[in-house]
Symmetry: C2
Subunit: 338 residues, 2 copies
DNA sequence: CCATTCCATTAAAACGTGTTAGCGGAATTT
DNA sequence: AAATTCCGCTAACACGTTTTAATGGAATGG
């Protein structure tokens, strides 16, 4: 009961199991008439191919793994949506893992993915160790890094220029006239945070100014709205507000914005504010938020295409490190002070 | 090369393949000394169990499927996070599908999940047809409905009381003194929208008022911030603003809020506003948004526990239809007019 | 000391599919 | 008409694991 196998389909269609398999996987090998009979038998019996048996015999599966750092962050949600859309269109299933920033959890996820013999893995790694994925690749599991540059030429990666984005945001604040800028960011162990900070510094230098005078970097332990609000409270307690804040993340920016507004600080009048990621909600916030837009959805699409190309055409595949350019979106929070 | 099998591990440890399998799955059957040898061999060779072979032989996998309606909606993201967390803790992998509201896509997802022989499926179905999942259950794939009530006692479901939530929101507006209320919602083909609308109506009746006088229902084709802003523009064009708006969704509410504020309408002074879902961003919006909180993360957790219990203890398992109660969260957007 | 029980281990048979080599017959060429 | 090529199909094995029945040896009881 329950499971109907390829054998029963064969019997019903009056052919051998091998022919049914061919009709499914290499239809051009089987005569139109028999193919029709097989398809009818499949429909009548409600046959569904046993993916595990198929994987076992064929040596590869129709699934890919996706390991992200924070499924709660809309940026990663957008990436995930792009991945799911592309993979699904090509008949691949996506196994989702949320590392939540924990290296241990990430390792556990990768182990599960290895057990499932996924065709490949898309991952936003929590650390910088490039050797960590070698074990996977030795097993024939391709790896594409998402939002993290590959260190070596034999690996694909898809990123957005973080230094460029940081520079863009900071230049915008400088052009606006701000000369005391705070860069509110997350743990500097996170590469994206480091990049954006570097970009900020570079923008100050490019303007012929001394970072020591102009730029103060404040790193919070988390990149959440909650952390942003805490940062606001600290700034207010310290007494001396910066003229502008560049947040490494829209969530931080939204929290900071809320904290400042609650205390009666005017934005952008007293403090200008720019975030990063341009998530959907920035436009709807108290003061609409200027931000650096990243093509998250597209990132997911391209990463998936790269991965599946690497899987399906291992010999012709050329490893690529693709870097998208972010885009400055100016809204009210850095508008001219009224 | 690459794949190291149970056989090689057995050879290295000087035992038979069967013993290695036992050491992995039923350690109590093998003597401590040999178990130690086996574990060492596994470590040395970097052996990873072939999940497909295991599934094929054992007849069931360690994966569950999750099919949601809109991965971009923070409510579902929270659910997904709860699911991933719980499943992962129990050693299960989660295959993610995004139906994007399309029935056809949902069917395709379910087919993929059936092929993968997932242990069970968590689904937020796009329609009301209860028979649609029978085919899955015949194949031994358990189904738990998420955010959708089960019609039959032999099926688990986890929901949040939508009528109650709708009533709660509307009563709150009525108590506040509003007598011309607009209910802004999405397609009424969506069950959640219907429920909330019913709740709104019931609240009006419970207050001894006539819905025809008090309540106007406006259904948008989508439940996005964009749609909310369009709704605001229409209201303004129509000239006559309601005293209060109950939105079936925070995204709609945020969009509406933005549209109203841009036109100089005061919230809650001219129009009071309440949303639904209480997503993270409501607190950070222009005017912080009153909303109906749903325990999304918990929903995901419980649904997963129910599903895995049904899988692991099919005889003792009691099907349950769990309904959570939502919670009113009052913020500025329904505060007393200044 | 023999019979019994118990324990740790093994050999071998599945699970459902993909694939390879080969077979018979029809179509084509000599 | 015989020889060759081609086409559509089949038989049978392999993939890596789990599981059942069987095995041998140690421990226990009479």
């Amino acid at each position: 009961m329950g499971t109907v196998t390829i054998k029963e389909v064969a019997q019903r269609a009056g052919v051998s199991p091998g022919t049914v398999s061919n009709a499914l996987n290499r239809p051009e090998l089987v005569a139109p008439a028999t193919r029709e009979r097989v398809e009818e038998a499949i429909r009548e019996l409600g046959f569904v191919r046993h993916g595990s048996a198929s994987t076992l015999r064929a040596g590869h599966s129709r699934t890919i793994g996706l390991s992200v750092m924070d499924i709660g962050n809309p940026f990663f949600t957008d990436v995930a949506a792009g991945v799911e859309e592309t993979a699904s269109a090509l008949g691949y299933a996506v196994i989702l893992g949320n590392s939540a920033g924990s290296l241990e959890k990430e390792e556990r996820n990768l182990h599960v993915l290895a057990e499932q013999r996924v065709r490949g893995v898309l991952i936003t790694p929590s650390d910088d160790d490039p050797a960590r994925f070698d074990r996977l690749r030795e097993r024939g599991i391709s790896v594409v890094l998402v939002d993290h540059p590959a260190h070596r030429p034999d690996q694909c990666s898809v990123t957005v220029n973080g230094e460029g984005g940081g520079q863009m945001a900071t230049s915008h604040l400088l052009e606006r006239g701000s000369r005391r800028i705070c860069h509110l960011t997350g743990p500097l162990t996170i590469r994206q945070c480091r990049e954006r900070a570097t970009g900020a510094r570079r923008a100050v230098l490019a303007a012929g100014l001394d970072p020591a005078d102009v730029l103060e970097v404040v790193a919070m332990p988390a990149m959440t709205a909650r952390a942003g609000q805490v940062a606001a409270e600290r700034m207010l307690a310290a007494g001396r507000l910066p003229e502008a804040v560049f947040c490494a993340n829209d969530l931080l920016a939204l929290g900071l914005l809320r904290g400042l507004l609650l205390a009666g600080v005017r934005v952008p009048g007293d403090v200008a504010l720019i975030g990063y990621d341009d998530i959907d909600f920035t436009a709807a916030s108290a003061v609409s938020l200027s931000s650096i837009r990243q093509p998250a959805h597209r990132l997911g699409q391209i990463a998936t295409e790269l991965l599946l190309d690497e899987c399906d055409n291992p010999d012709t595949h050329a490893h690529r490190q693709i870097m998208f350019q972010p885009e400055l979106v100016v809204r009210e929070s850095t508008g001219s002070p009224r």
